[in-house]
């Protein structure tokens, strides 16, 4: 069985899109990542525990939420919205930062999009209130910015790390 990370429904192995909420589910194998956390000594995120694991090379990129080590797997050839759910509006971003204290962390409901297409990865800030940073440099909104393997992307105050092997 596979558990959908968005709606918690249990699905049969081999399912590609959740039949209950339509979220794209990654393969049945757990994706694990190795990275060095020496770069992430910032004032707010001192001593974030790094996770020692191995990554499976594939056509996917991984977005690691540094605080918790949770990994979002994003297959290539698609676009993903980063944001948080809202009670008032039906917004369900693919990368929902609500469980990571997205609201307190200053994540906008529609914060940014990550586009993984034609073997390049870009991020576009959607005019979020608290901005998006690549390696601590704030990017101007509504323009795609290329991101590289290992970059630290900050949404409001939530830090994530992008990993991909091509």
């Amino acid at each position: 069985m596979i558990k959908c990370p968005v709606c918690n429904s249990e699905m049969l192995e081999g399912v590609i899109y959740c039949l209950d909420c339509g979220a794209r589910l990654h393969s049945s194998v757990k994706i694990e990542a190795t990275f060095d956390d020496s770069l992430i000594q910032t004032d707010r995120f001192k001593n974030v525990p790094g996770k020692q694991t191995t990554i499976v090379p594939s056509q996917e990129i991984y977005l690691v939420v540094l605080q918790t080590g949770q990994i979002f797997t994003l297959p290539f050839e698609d676009e993903y919205i980063v944001g948080r759910t809202s009670d008032e509006q039906p917004i369900f971003p693919e990368i929902d930062l609500t469980p990571f204290n997205g609201y307190q962390g200053g994540v906008s409901r529609l914060h940014a999009t990550i586009k993984a297409k034609d073997s390049s990865v870009t991020i576009t800030d959607l005019g979020s209130t608290n901005g998006t940073r690549i390696n601590n440099v704030r990017i101007e909104p509504n323009n795609p910015h290329p991101i590289n393997h290992g970059d630290i992307i900050t949404f409001g105050n939530i830090k994530t790390r992008v990993l991909f092997y091509k």
Binding site: M1, V6, V15, D20
Partner: protein, 491 residues
Amino acid sequence: MVEPHDFYLELELSRNASQDDIRRAYHLAVRKYHPDVNKDTGNLEKFLHIQNAYDVLSDAQKRAEYDATLPPLPDQTNLLKIASYSSRSTLPRLTEPQLLYILIELSKPEDITLTTTPPLNICLVLDRSTSMQGQRLSTVKNAAIELLHQLNQDDILSIVTFSDRAEVLFNGIPQLSPSQVETKISRIQTSGGTEIYQGLASGITELRRNIDKNRVNHLLLLTDGRTYGDEKPCLELAEEAALDGISITCLGLGNNWNDVFLDGLAMRTGGDCQYLAHHQEIKNAFYNIISRLTEIYAKQLSFSFSLQSNVEISETYRLTPQPGPLPLVSPIPLGSILDKTSTTLLFELKIKPLGKNNKTLTVLDGELMFEISSQSNPKSRTPLHIELPVSNTNIPEYPPLPILNALSTFTLYRLQERAKQDLAEGNTASAVKRLNHLATHLKNQGQIELANTIVRETEAIQKSHKFSQEGKMKIKYGTRALLPSRILTNP
């Protein structure tokens, strides 16, 4: 032309048909050809042939002896281009069931050029019940007259109108001048209720008068209402018509027709059902249907198959050229293959736990049957066999892009079907949640208008606990219409 002594062709079966298939085909054929049962189509000689074929094929031993005498199937693989994709290239040996997706794309081979297309034998079956009064009927009349001009000289057109009974307006162009036909069309008047069986039966009779293997035999049913009590005979009629090579397109006008019924009716013949929200869409719909009929490369396409005991089909859907659900029983009528647009089919298979002895698994095994009018022997068949290796290790795989593309929109269509099911089961909260997800996915894909329709509908559902008739239609056919787009833009 039926080849002599081929019992399988006699019953329109493939050589690997199961006993169930044989029995089913036999019963259908008896209903059609038994001289005592059916006065219109009864044919003693044909009936005796069928009886003879059934006697042999229904007996396992006689069938095996007979099979041994059959010549090998002629190689007709060059008449159809088949591309198939599987969501996994290797099946992991799991102790639990798993899903597998198969996408099959059928098209005309590039080296074949279509010089002539078969002439048409079409019948318009038009609803003239009182609900059609006013603009609806006048638009239908105009559209029918315009359709007249779209036809070629050797095409045959008949028109049947129906309310609670049917009238044949005219049969075949040759006897009448175009202006006479136009006059007849312009005199159609509304009255009475909607009894689809009446119109359908009469339309099929008209088509049968001119039936010809070399023609595209098609019935176009337009209605804006519900039929009561005659659904079952209608569906049976459609199945019989399909055996004669008649396909049906259903056009549902407005919001008060039975979508499940008309979907089913069209599906049984390989046709499709379309939703026309407004009468202004009729003219375009007619035009597109006739255009497609004149682009047919292969017609009467069907897939007959048998399944291994550990494989189950949980869903089949045609994505292109006209999206629609397909029946799960063999043989599946699939419609036609057009000159330039491929026919794409999506299968969702449920694979039961695989035992140690399974080194490979045949997930689909059968034959595609089709007719190409330009061929001297139009009936053709080509095998379709998909077998996957089974592995003890579960290596992650990235599904091929065509499968992801197809599923990305098919999933949306399914969400609204599931929301309907939720509401039928009284689970409003779950339906609302699902529709919210659906609206978000649609917004992400740029389908803002459809997403907004869903948002409005969801608000209403929270109060009424059911779909509005209009919302239901718009959302169902709106998400269905997205299916071909992802396929066609990613060849």
